[in-house]
Amino acid sequence: MKAIVHVVLKKDVLDPQGKAVEAALQTLGFGEVSEVRQGKFFEITLDGHREDASARLDRMCEELLANPVIEDYRITIPDA
């Protein structure tokens, strides 16, 4: 099965890259943009049952994919 993991900086952590992208979009004329937060996206292919996978993916995020000090993560397992 495939799982999708999004990792983003926590709301109160400054995201200078997102700010730079936001400013660039506004310069390009996309004035409706009020905020950009940049993050990471992982597409993970793994074996096992869906129920077990969710707990294992949680551990993967806690131990490596995200730094819980500064980042939040979201796991999605799309229906095959």
């Binding site: 900086l9 952590v13 400054l14 200078p16 890259q17 730079a20 490596l64 730094n67 000090v69 500064i70």
Partner: protein, 228 residues
Amino acid sequence: MKAVVVVFPGSNCDRDVAVALARCTGCAPILVWHGATSLPPCDLVVLPGGFSYGDYLRAGAIAAHSPIMRSVREAAARGIAVLGICNGFQILTETGLLPGALVRNAGLRFVCRPVDLRVEGDSPFLAGFTPGECIRFPVAHMEGNYQADPETLAGLEAEGRIVLRYVDANGGVTEASNPNGSVAGIAGITSASRRIFGLMPHPERVIGDELGGSDGRRFFAAVADALA
């Protein structure tokens, strides 16, 4: 003082710090590859600067799970001193040996220049300087912006564990003197035990006047005296 320098794929200050240790302490360190599973007997473990694993994922994140890091954690738990410089500091926060995290510089640029630093608190690593003294080491990093949650910061302040701050020529912590946006101008912190020290600036790059300064020489000589 017996020192070990851990070499990760992508470390690039390992030789510099080895030379600095040899010249300033009179005792050459042992270089240990990250894939080793045990450390030789030592008084100090140094995690050097560089770009371990190309800074993939997050700076220091992959190195934090290198085989040798299990031994480094065990050594730290036994009270062996651990020094993390630049990427080494990032690795220490990623392993949880030091609190907080080092994120992208607020100015989004790689910063490479000498900075003025104020020494605070008591740490065996800064025994060569008097509290309040201002010294100068160079920085060279893209992810040196120290961040921690308010409780962690309050704890670090209360326990006197913020031992190096970026300051201006008058010793004041100002926005202009802060090269990367670090909260409270933090350049270096210690563990509660004072035996683990992480800093972004590079003392190994200023070990003689021909290199632009000798505060680094004082740093390593005093570390050897304090830890021997």
